[in-house]
């Protein structure tokens, strides 16, 4: 059975030994202790498992780890640096855009994907892009506000 020996995660090379047909999500969570990405549905319908693969928001629960080999993978754990939160994380906290927080990492990673593609998305663009992410606690209006605020902050910081 083919195995994956190395992944490029959050700018580092991580060694492992995983069947290539396993999901990227379970390898991140169970082999590499990166449990910020969550299981929600197992079919790519809720967005809780979203990571950036080659910069694009990707549902890691339906992505075989074999297909992620050699590509840069970004997870929620890679966003804050030296205890300093990313502006998107800051914006989620500031706007109270979470209740139980289980969808939050996936929401933030999807928002990262959106803002890297479109620096100043309007509300409709946010709603369209984020449509695949579920927040069962229903904080959608706050998440939209958080993304708008993060876009402004990122623009201000020139990132």
């Amino acid at each position: 059975m083919p195995t994956v020996k190395e992944l490029h995660i959050n700018g580092s090379k991580r060694s492992l030994d995983a069947d290539s047909e396993r999901s990227l999500l379970s390898v991140l969570r169970d082999d590499l202790d990166l449990t910020g990405s969550k299981y929600g549905c197992g079919e790519g319908s809720c967005g809780a498992c979203t990571v950036l693969l080659d910069g694009k928001p990707t549902r890691s629960c339906i992505t075989p780890v074999g297909s992620a080999e050699g590509k840069p993978i970004g997870t929620i754990e890679g966003l804050a640096h030296d205890g300093k939160l990313h502006p998107i994380q800051e914006a989620f906290l500031k706007t109270g855009a979470l209740q139980c927080g289980y969808c939050t990492p996936g929401m933030i990673m999807s928002a990262m994907g959106l803002l890297s593609k479109e620096a100043e998305p309007d509300r409709d663009a946010i709603v369209r892009f984020m449509g695949g992410n579920i927040c069962r606690c229903g904080t959608y209006p706050r998440i939209i506000t958080a993304i708008e605020q993060a876009a402004k902050a990122l623009k201000g910081s020139g990132k």
Partner: protein, 723 residues
């Protein structure tokens, strides 16, 4: 003697099953407290009506087990020699943000910053017994106990400081974690006062607390405690726990509900590397090195099942009407009759009679049921997501025939529950597999398992007959609820002649608690029916309600929501409708106005704007309250418009998020929320009540837009055309 802090009613069933004699001993508790925390001072809240709180094994057994906290303790607080303040409560953080609001009330009374306080929650080895986090009881009960505990701790610190500093107690104040005299002399850190001490103070509900008008920390929009851990992915939910040597568990599920195992061939599965199969009676499960391997092993099991013919969803409502069930206690019948409905109807100028139906819906907590179980020397530790940690401890103890003291249930802050995580299925399964495998086991339900093997919000049929005079005076109100439940069954509107009744029925699917229980169904039927009657009488729906309403608090939220919405000011355009609804539940008051766009030709219906006014006494955290109200409205939209469990012959037909639609970004309306802060009233819970008014407000708006009266929840599962 009844403790005033216990509610007169407890909304959930299954709480009074067991009770036992009192077993309180000061000495035992003293030892127990300090075994957990070390020296310092402890202030504990003593419940006086213990029977209502506990359903634990006999006290003798417990003492032998090494001394759990006495059952009469509701919550307690410890101040250590290092000044650390720790609160111990059996409540669970589910996303309702009580870790923050409870921290605030303690900080308020202890006159410290919230950052100084740490909350130990829902670890059965460390916290006092708690019946569960349900029924919106955390704020009225636990916050109230903790305020008193903290206030008593503050007074105790003043006593200690007066003695230590040999000064007049009246000259001392407590500020910013210190007890100080005039001009800050003397000045004592809390820890200085608790050094070398092992003091336990037991208090009750007579301890005075700071009135809401004087709050400086409570009542403010404090940010979520430990919020950073959630946005960085660092917070560990039960499904994130990892233990040394841990393997992954999975259970073989029957092809249909109520199916029985005839035979199973395990050889192929057992031949897979690292796989172990556990077969005990009807239970077949596996452990494997990865979740992927566990799923493959289950797929390699060859089982034969005996299935039982079961009803289809199409026959559900007929079934519920024709199959009354024997049920007692909280699930049992409830009836209230005043005057004569017949006479009331005879006196009416207009009558409306209609039936409403309510589908089963699923909670869909984004974190499915999950547990990690570990056995060590006959003792079991389980990390799991449940709203009833002590209830699940009891389930585990019973299942394995061990004393409750040998079971420790730890509930990390959860990936939500909404009333759906009262039971411990995943915990039991993980513990069973861990025991057989001799290794810690993690077991996480798939979404499909969650949809199929958990429980649902009860389905129901509600029949209403009502009559009113031309001037809008209600003369008769008859209301029969079959199966969905008795919460908010009684009408807040005045009618001399009334008959309201709840009829328990045989439910073909497993059902249980859901945010606000049947209050959503009962409000939907009541508030839709009133709207119908107002229309028949050619009266404004708001004016009609106010005419029949004496409750000032409900009037206030209706008027506030109407004002915010601009009710009565604008005429709806073509294809646009406005609706209003209000209600009372769990001591909180809500009113919602909705604006919809609805088109019978295209079938499209969209909730454009929602204005909600809410009142729950003195507000503990305004922004969090607002968040709960917005979230409840959002969740309510699903049940109102499109969520429904489809089933046939023991199978759930839409057990995936690709088949079962929940509200998404595109469904979010513009939301306007008005908070009425009644500082003169005790704080009531607010996680549930804001969900009850949305569905009827939306239904009433759809009626105004289209003339179509929708009497089934969900109202438009396939848009308006197919209904």
């Amino acid at each position: 003697m009844k403790n005033q802090l216990l509610p007169d009613f407890l909304a959930e069933p299954e709480r009074y099953e067991l009770s036992e004699d009192r077993c309180f001993s000061d000495e035992l508790s003293r030892r127990t407290f300090f075994r957990i925390v070390g020296s310092g001072i402890v202030v504990a809240f003593l419940l006086r009506d213990a029977d209502a709180q506990d359903r634990q094994p006999p006290p003798v057994q417990r003492q032998r087990g090494g001394g759990s906290l006495p059952k009469e303790i509701g919550a307690w607080l410890h101040i250590g020699e290092d000044s650390a303040i720790t609160v111990y409560t059996g409540k669970v953080e589910i996303g309702q943000n009580i870790r923050t609001s409870l921290t605030q009330v303690v900080a308020e009374e202890l006159r410290v910053s919230p950052s100084r306080i740490s909350m130990t929650m829902a670890d059965t080895q460390k916290v006092p017994f708690d019946f569960g986090t349900a029924g919106s009881q955390t704020t009225p009960m636990m916050a109230s106990q903790l305020r008193r505990v903290a206030a008593a701790a503050r007074e105790l610190l003043l006593d200690l400081a007066a003695k230590e500093g040999k000064v007049e107690r009246g000259t001392l104040t407590v500020t910013d974690g210190k007890v100080i005299g005039p001009d800050s002399k003397p000045s004592f850190e809390f820890g200085k006062l608790t050094q070398g001490k092992k003091l336990v103070k037991l208090i009750d509900d007579k301890v005075p607390t700071t009135p809401a008008e004087k709050w400086t920390v409570a009542g403010k929009s404090e940010p979520k405690v430990e919020g950073q851990a959630f946005v960085t992915g660092a917070h560990l939910y039960a499904s994130d726990i990892k233990r040394p040597g841990m393997v992954f568990g999975k259970v073989l599920r029957p092809p249909a509900l109520k199916a029985e195992l005839v035979s199973v061939q395990t050889k192929d599965a057992e031949a897979l590397p690292g796989v172990r199969v556990i077969h005990e009676g009807n239970f077949v499960g596996v452990t494997a090195p990865t979740d992927h391997a566990a799923a493959k092993a289950v797929a390699a099991l060859h089982a034969e099942w005996k299935t039982t013919p079961q009803i289809d969803g199409a026959d559900l409502f007929k079934h519920l009407k024709s199959r009354p069930a024997e049920a007692r206690g909280f699930g049992g019948p409830s009836k209230n009759v005043q005057g004569s409905v017949k006479e009331g109807l005879d006196a009416a100028d207009k009558k409306v009679e209609a039936a409403y139906t309510i589908a089963y819906i699923a909670h869909v907590p984004l974190e499915p049921r999950a547990a990690v179980a570990e056995w060590s020397e006959g003792k079991l530790t389980v990390w799991t997501g449940t709203q009833r940690p002590f209830g699940v401890r009891g389930e585990l103890a019973t299942a394995f025939g061990i004393p409750a003291e040998s079971v420790r249930v730890i509930v990390p802050d959860m990936g939500s529950g909404y009333g759906g995580k009262h039971t411990g299925e995943a915990a039991l399964e993980a513990a069973r597999l861990a025991k057989a495998a001799g290794k810690p086991v993690k077991l996480v339900w798939t979404r499909e398992e969650e949809f199929t093997w958990a429980y649902f919000r009860p389905a129901g049929v509600i029949e209403v007959t009502a009559g009113a005079k031309k001037d809008g005076t209600l003369t008769a109100w008859e209301f029969h609820n079959y199966n969905s439940g008795a919460s908010a069954l009684r009408s807040p509107y005045q009618a001399t002649n009334q008959h309201v009744e709840f009829h328990p029925a045989d439910s073909p699917l497993r059902q249980g608690s859901y945010r606000a229980l049947a209050a959503t169904a009962n409000h939907f039927a009541r508030e839709s029916h009133l709207d119908d009657l107002a229309h028949e009488l050619d009266l404004d729906p708001l004016a009609f309600r106010l005419k029949n309403l004496k409750d000032e608090r409900l009037r206030a939220v209706l008027e506030a929501a109407a004002k915010q919405f601009g009710w009565g000011h604008a005429k709806p355009a073509d294809g646009q409708g406005f609706g209003i609804a209000g209600g009372i539940e769990k001591g909180s008051y809500v009113a919602t106005c909705a604006e919809v766009e609805a088109n019978l030709q295209s079938g499209r219906v969209k909730v454009v704007r929602v204005a909600t006014a809410f009142e729950c006494g003195a507000i503990l955290n305004p922004d969090n309250l607002k968040n709960q109200i917005e979230g409840a409205n959002m969740m309510a939209l699903g049940g109102a418009l499109f969520e429904a469990i489809q089933f046939a012959n023991g199978k759930i037909l839409n057990p995936r998020l690709s088949d079962y639609k929940v509200p998404r970004f595109g469904d979010a309306p513009q939301m306007e929320t008005v908070l009425l802060n009644r500082k003169d009233l005790p704080s009531a819970g607010a996680g549930e009540t804001p969900i009850v008014a949305l569905a009827p407000a939306v239904g009433n708006a759809i009626f105004q837009a289209t003339g179509l009266r929708l009497r089934s929840l969900p109202m438009a599962p396939k848009g308006l055309k197919a209904t």
